[in-house]
């Protein structure tokens, strides 16, 4: 029995519903020797900004119980370099490339999207709205429904590409943000991004991260992520990509049941470069064991009674 694993998400055709999460897979090159990129459902590359960014001062990471904090600071060589150097490399593989877009202002995001609109090999955009909006005192776009909607509206007006918006979990009401972003024109949502966290060295009294506060990822955040995917998926009609601490296929199934149409594997790649493919294999085994024919049979199927 052939399983139906193919997914069309926000207009992007994927051979399976397992993607790699932005920030954990670079721009594809580094893992290409270890993983057959062509087997992935999609690759979401690390965020690109209009100008090159140096990123934050180190130390940039700290391991925490069942997870890690990071404050990389969006180090990247800028969208121009990405288009010239990384896109052609990725184009060798039969895998949709979704470009994560970051910025400090609405103008920044628009400028990046404009450049990508002309580029070859971009299957879709993932808008990283967890960036601080410098024009509003550094509050993340994603923490305010109005700012998020305004940003999405501006970008939407300038791009015909599938537009997925990556939501921040650092909000009181994820459904509110999800609805605002859907109304503004998003084709899909992805969540969750990292949860704000901090660690302090008891000997030196200094924060473990030079940036003081960072983003928590890994298994520790999975219950938060599953809950938010569930809340967001119930609130919107557009499809949802679920992520947050997925290590195994069983973890991924939780997200499908909560309402995700696809999942992304991130921090797990650090433990196992083949994590996404192992999750994919495990999903197939799960569906076969449950005598299900495809992914559609589990999406949103959590039983509340």
């Amino acid at each position: 029995m052939k399983l139906k694993l193919g997914v069309e998400l926000a207009g992007i055709k994927m051979k399976n519903p397992v993607m790699t999460a932005s920030g954990t897979f670079g721009w594809g090159r580094e893992y290409a020797e270890l993983v057959d990129l062509g087997k992935l459902g999609a690759i979401v590359v690390k965020g690109v900004t209009i100008e090159e960014r140096q990123g934050n001062k180190p130390p940039r990471i700290w391991e925490t119980p069942a997870g890690m904090l990071n404050s990389i600071g969006l180090q990247n060589k800028g969208v121009g370099h990405f288009i010239e150097e990384d896109l052609p490399f990725l184009g060798q593989y039969d895998v949709p490339v979704i470009v994560n877009v970051a910025g400090s202002s609405v103008d920044d995001y628009s400028a990046v999207c404009e450049r990508l609109e002309q580029a070859q090999g971009v299957a879709g955009l993932e808008l990283n709205i967890s960036c601080p909006n410098v024009k509003s005192g550094g509050l993340e776009f994603g923490r305010d429904a109005e700012a998020a909607a305004e940003l999405v509206k501006r970008v939407r007006a300038n791009t015909a590409k599938p537009l997925i918006v990556k939501l921040s979990p650092n909000v009181a009401d994820i459904a509110e943000i999800a609805k605002a972003v859907e109304a503004a024109g998003a084709d899909g949502l992805s969540l969750i991004n990292t949860v704000l966290g901090m660690a302090i060295d008891p000997e030196t009294w200094h924060p473990r991260l030079a940036n003081v506060v960072g983003g928590l990822s890994g298994p520790a955040i999975r219950p938060i992520a599953v809950r938010m995917v569930w809340e967001a998926a119930r609130a919107v009609k557009i499809p949802v990509v679920g992520m947050g601490g997925i290590l195994t296929a069983r973890d991924a199934v939780e997200f499908f049941l909560a309402g995700a149409h696809a999942v992304a594997v991130g921090t797990a790649n650090f433990l196992n470069p083949r994590a996404a493919l192992d999750v994919l294999d495990g999903i197939e085994e799960y569906l076969e064991r449950k005598r299900l024919t495809g992914i559609a049979e589990i999406v949103g199927k959590v039983e509340l009674t």
Partner: protein
Amino acid sequence: MIFQAEAVVLKKEELASGVYRLTLLAKEIAQAAKPGQFVHMRLDGGDFLLRRPFSIHRRVSARAFQVLFQRSGRGTDYLSRVETPARLDVLGPLGTGFQVPEKVERLLLVAGGLGVAPLPFLLDELSGKIDVLALVGAVNKNRILVLPDLASRARVEVVTEDGSRGRRGLVTDVLPQLIQNHRPGIVLACGPEGMLRKVALMAAEANVSCQVSLERRMACGVGACLSCVCRTVDGFERVCEEGPVFDATRIVW
């Protein structure tokens, strides 16, 4: 080329209190390895734990290599308790190793504590024509490690902080004089960052090339996550990719 391999632990030796040497069978990694490179090891404790990086200590055969480490935290504690023939998920060989220029006739190695780790491999691969002086320092005589492995291929000067072996003091106390006497074409150093910074300064003052092997906490180990960066004159660079070995003059300490 880098490989993800299931390495078999062939041997575990405790060289000093809390210091271990593991011999691992992993053919492709052993064959591809170059001195100064490292492996990124998965340590399962039934828990989420990032991989830990370890210098490749020595290639002992066409199929096996060694790592040297000190038990200092959860990861190394787990590793210190593996029993042969355990299997370990190893990624490698990774990073940019030592680059000894062709024309170098005399080499000065500087190692502090566990900084000796990458040196036996380097010595094994060096042309027999190069005259090597190894300056090795540690807190006391018990922490002077793998001396016979170094002494078989180099003249060794030992320095201990308590004077229990060799001269009393730090490697940096004797380095300037050794540079002057030995006149190396290049200095290669590995050890605590404070030591490396001083070695770099002394080499620069003597107008001698210097390479240092840096250590940073890592997540992916393959250059994708940008966690392990150090500051260089050209911006932030990855210790797992552009390093761990760097031209000392490029580092912004």
